[in-house]
């Protein structure tokens, strides 16, 4: 049945451009599915705009701040408008990588060992003196990343102690807290999960950056990274990775949609969980649509399933 669907895209996040690409593609798919699409940028007029239209469903095509941190979800809860993707709580938990990693640890889900520090602790508490201890405990290379940011923005791999301050300052440009995490040498994997009551995994995507690390340029530029679907894993590894992804999804009380990013380490074959994304990219080069296609779903079918379960009471 034809529905009025508002697609929220753009917004104030640093991933605005990426969100607009996702939003355009989703809007086209919704139109092909016969729905009435209202595209909305997210700014100070968003509440008025949402109120001024008769909207059956909001499709959240936002990435990063506001769209994946629970902000927009809470607004929609107050307004009583159904929306796609997980609810407020899983968004709040997953957006802060420190909190989500603590939850993984409490649920015995493997995640790379880490420490976090915030800007003021460097400026006012002399935290830079901690760095030799952190290097001793975690070892090098180390991944330095902002605690709340997507799209590989602000992330660097540090191979020597001299480069550590620079990487920390870089990460702190994107977030007030920085995570110093053990680098896991292995295979990078993305597992998309879809489904409301019985979440199911889609085929795993294996990411092989041509550069040593999957940074922002690799992510956004075609030809910078090779992708394999399904990932080149043994049946046992495939099963273990998917089980872990579902465990992560459940631990963060995620429903309807998510993508779990992991590193499967070379030695022990342990799937280390890096993070969970509540609004996975939907562009031509995004991983969720790739997985869905491998599972035999067209982009329109994927969008149709996402809106279908979001409209269910």
């Amino acid at each position: 049945m034809k529905k009025n669907i508002a697609v929220l895209m753009g917004g104030r996040s640093l991933e605005r451009e990426f969100s607009i690409k996702s939003g355009q593609r989703i809007s086209n798919a919704l139109r092909k599915l016969g729905h009435n699409v209202i595209k909305m940028d997210v700014n100070e007029s968003i509440v008025d705009n949402l109120n001024s239209e008769k909207i059956d469903l909001v499709y959240i095509a936002l990435h990063g701040k506001d769209g994946e941190d629970g902000t927009i979800q809470e607004i929609l809860e107050v307004l009583g408008i159904p929306y796609t993707g997980p609810g407020v709580y899983p968004n709040v938990l997953s957006f802060d990588k420190i909190i989500s990693k603590q939850i993984f640890i409490s649920k015995e889900i493997p995640t790379p060992p880490f420490y976090f520090l915030n800007t003021s602790s460097f400026r006012e508490l002399g935290s830079s003196k901690l760095l030799p201890f952190i290097i001793e405990k975690i070892g090098l290379p180390m991944v330095v990343k902002p605690s709340a940011q997507g799209s590989a923005l602000g992330i660097r791999i540090v191979n020597d102690k001299e480069s550590l301050p620079e990487a920390i300052i870089y990460a702190l440009s994107y977030s007030k807290k920085v995570i110093l995490e053990k680098f896991i040498d292995g295979v990078e994997l993305a597992v998309s999960i879809i489904g409301k009551d019985k979440p199911r995994t889609l085929p795993i995507v294996e990411i092989v950056p041509k550069k040593k690390f999957f940074d922002f340029e690799s992510r956004s530029g075609v030809g910078e990274t090779d992708y394999f679907v399904p990932a080149r894993l043994s049946p046992a590894e495939d099963k273990k990775v998917k089980q872990t992804a579902i465990a992560v999804n459940n631990a963060l009380r995620c429903n309807r949609l998510s993508r779990v990013d992991m590193m499967l380490d070379k030695k022990g074959k342990v799937p280390y969980v890096l993070e969970l994304n509540t609004s996975p990219g939907m562009t031509d080069t995004s991983l969720l649509p790739l997985s869905a296609e491998e599972a035999g779903m067209s982009f329109e079918q994927l969008v149709d399933e996402i809106i279908g379960m979001s409209l269910e009471k």
Partner: protein
């Protein structure tokens, strides 16, 4: 069965030069600057609102009423002759005395740069630019696979001693420099003006090393302080008029939406440019050229330039005084006497790409310096355009930036 994903089915067909076309983190961050709540020092956007729209409307109506059979038709690949007569008058105000036959009109200055690159550059050829230099020019030269040698700029423009050394070094290796690209007046991005002494020296060097100068002068008429300096073209005309290709645009004198630029060059070079126009676009929009002709036929256009100058001058003053009273020690910036841009240099250890991420989160945008260099320089530098925002917002934005820079310095020092 696992398979490698092919995102772009046509990848195997693309030319190698498409490798120079890619997205960047900076571009994505700057996409936010289009939002009205962001104070943007990023784009060099002229204040088109200052134009007299009623008069423009009158020109357009007149063209449609009396001249639509010509203005909606194709025109010559070298450009609409009556407009050339007006461009001659415009250039005379800058001391350049040329004839209509020496001009080719292009779709903006950018097409002139593309055509000149096409005319001169084979893959691997060496071209010389200022460092920093206009990104649009660098991208054009790169797309023809030029090897770009950037010569450092100081407060008097391109450093001629380094240029001479470079030319000498290349000549000894038997390498012919194809051209020297310069924006001598209130350069984009540095805001710096090339001194007369250096203009003369660079012309002398161009003659000695048998190369040409591409003199790009979009901002020359927007001087709001100090004395005008002769263009290099004017200096060359006084001699054998052999070594300077002069480029300009109506984007800053009228409006960028018309997409009109022009080239003045020695005849053999001009012939090639005109053939280039023919093979790429047949001709520049006749309609745009007609409107521009009407605009420059109305003496009021010079009053408009004065209006532009007073707007930009007030905005520059707001930016410079706010920089002065708020930026921490160790920061330096250029003091342009015209044009659109201030060039900012922060302490070496600060990275402006990182600062941009912070700035955008705090609703201010600028362009990090690295994009204006063909090599790895400019990491601690930035271009601040004062042409777009009103003075109150300029002051607010610079204060926010100053606060962020101070925080970064404090953070950096905590590691020492």
């Amino acid at each position: 069965m696992s398979k490698k994903i092919i995102f772009d089915y046509w990848n195997h067909l693309y030319s190698s030069r498409t490798e120079y076309m890619f997205s960047s983190e900076i571009r994505d961050l700057l996409s936010l600057s289009a939002r009205p709540d962001i104070i943007s020092f990023s784009g060099g956007l002229p204040e088109v609102k200052a134009l007299n729209f009623q008069r423009l409307e009158r020109y357009v109506k007149r063209i449609i009423k009396t001249d639509s059979d010509i203005s909606l038709q194709y025109s010559g690949s070298d450009g609409y002759y009556p407009l050339k007569t007006k461009l001659i008058e415009v250039m005379k105000l800058e001391g350049i005395d040329e004839v209509e036959e020496d001009i080719a009109i292009t779709t903006g200055g950018q097409q002139a740069l593309d055509l000149l690159s096409k005319v001169f550059i084979d893959p691997g050829d060496v071209v010389i630019t200022e460092a920093p230099s206009y990104t649009g020019a660098l991208n054009s030269f790169k797309s023809y696979e030029a090897q770009i040698e950037g010569i450092e700029v100081d407060s008097s423009g391109m450093n001629v001693s380094i240029l001479e050394e470079k030319l000498n070094e290349l000549s000894k290796k038997g390498i012919q420099v194809k051209f020297i690209y310069l924006v001598p007046n209130f350069s984009n991005p540095s805001g710096v003006t090339l001194s007369l002494k250096r203009r003369k020296k660079i012309l002398e060097l161009a003659k000695k090393y048998k190369t040409v100068i591409l003199e790009d002068n979009p901002y020359g008429m927007l001087r709001f302080e100090g004395k005008s300096i002769p263009t290099i073209k004017e200096l060359d005309i006084k001699g054998d008029n052999h070594n300077v290709i002069y480029l300009s645009t109506l984007s800053k004198l009228l409006a960028p939406g018309f997409r009109i630029g022009w080239v003045v060059a020695p005849r053999p070079i001009l012939e090639k440019i005109i053939l280039g126009v023919q093979s790429t676009i047949l001709c520049v929009s006749t309609f745009s050229q007609k409107i521009a002709y009407e605009y420059f036929s109305d003496p009021v256009w010079q009053e408009n330039i004065d209006k532009f100058k007073s707007i930009y001058s007030a905005r520059r003053d707001a930016m410079l005084s706010t920089l002065e009273s708020n930026f921490p020690k160790g920061s330096m910036w250029s003091r342009p006497e015209g044009g659109f841009f201030v060039w900012l240099k922060l302490p070496r250890y600060l990275n402006t790409k990182e600062l941009l991420a912070d700035a955008v989160r705090n609703k201010v945008a600028f362009v990090p310096g690295s994009g204006f260099y063909a090599d790895s320089r400019g990491l601690n530098e930035a271009r601040l355009a004062y042409c777009t925002e009103e003075t109150g917002r300029i002051e607010k934005g610079i204060k926010i930036l100053a606060g962020l820079v101070k925080e970064k310095i404090k953070l950096y020092k905590s590691f020492k």
